[in-house]
């Protein structure tokens, strides 16, 4: 028979919720904690906005596109590549 555990169930408050957001988004919360976090979200007027803001930050950071290389820098990389090819060719001789 499985052992019954009588851990007192405590609701998550906003101050804790803001610290759990990343673990929640990372899917790293243990199930019981995740359920309490979600229960808090469903009845809190403000924490859903906080979660949405953290999601927005992730999306914004992900939307940063790498700067295209300037033509000068691109040429420098091509030169590095060519020097490497020459070096490889020499090593094969």
């Amino acid at each position: 028979m499985s052992r019954l555990r009588f851990r007192p169930r405590r609701d998550v408050v906003c101050r804790e919720a803001v610290e759990l957001v990343t673990d929640y988004l990372e899917d790293a919360l243990p199930q019981a904690r995740r359920r309490r976090f979600e229960a808090h979200l469903s009845q809190c007027p403000d924490c859903p906005e906080y979660l949405a803001q953290m999601r927005a930050i992730v999306a914004l950071a992900g939307s940063i596109t790498p700067d295209d290389l300037t033509p000068h820098m691109r040429q420098e990389f091509i030169n590095v590549y060519r020097r490497w090819r020459d070096e490889e060719a020499r090593d094969l001789l």
């Binding site: 906003c14 101050r15 804790e16 990343t22 914004l60 992900g62 700067d67 590095v80």
Partner: protein, 199 residues
């Protein structure tokens, strides 16, 4: 392991395609510089470190066995070069940065918001606003403490998985999540203050 997004480029570089190398360079140069700068005293040294890392990548690419993703391997080479060139040693999460991510005064004694976050999340969908904020967020990432900047850059900007980030930076998953949490929370604050009072 999910398929390596750089698989085709890597094959082309090996086959002698210099344009493919330039493409990889364009994709990763910015993040590499940003990470290298955390280890060495100046931007000029960081550029040297990154350049050396690229040469190391080319020299090793024939032996790269794709057991990790290319980007994990690339950033690993970079971090190793940066550590040997740098003055800073790897540290665990600094203890002086372990306070709450939202100022305690925003909550009442019971832990409920008394100064709730001003709503702005849905305004980010606006293309014009998003374009403006993108520039600000890049600057804000640059201002993060070293380890947070590394994790946010690799994870959120470059899109590495948490396992990849842990492998690159040689940190535990729990440590990675703490750094990510603190970094993202600071960015939220900065971007929030662009919209309103921020908190």
């Amino acid at each position: 392991m999910p398929e390596d997004p750089d698989s085709a480029l890597v094959s082309r570089v090996r086959a002698g395609d210099e344009g493919a190398f330039a493409e990889l360079a364009a994709k990763y140069q910015g993040a590499m510089l940003s990470i290298a700068r955390g280890y060495v005293p100046s931007g000029a040294v960081a550029e040297e470190v990154v350049q050396e890392a690229w040469i190391g990548v080319l020299r090793g690419i024939g032996r790269f066995e794709r057991r990790s993703s290319f980007r994990t391997w690339l950033f690993r080479i970079l971090v190793n070069r940066a550590i040997s060139a740098g003055v800073r040693e790897r540290r665990s999460v600094p203890v002086d940065d372990m306070g709450p991510v939202v100022d305690a005064s925003c909550f009442d004694a019971g832990g409920t918001w008394q100064v709730p976050p001003e709503a702005w999340a849905d305004r980010v969908d606006d293309q014009v606003i998003a374009a403006k904020i993108s520039a600000r967020i890049l600057a804000a990432i640059d201002e993060l403490p070293l380890q947070q900047r590394e994790v946010v850059t690799l994870r959120d900007v470059q899109g590495l998985s948490s396992a990849e980030v842990c492998a690159v930076l040689d940190i535990s998953n729990a440590n990675q999540r703490v750094l990510l949490h603190r970094g993202r929370s600071k960015l939220r604050q900065v971007i929030g203050s662009e919209f309103g009072r921020g908190q």
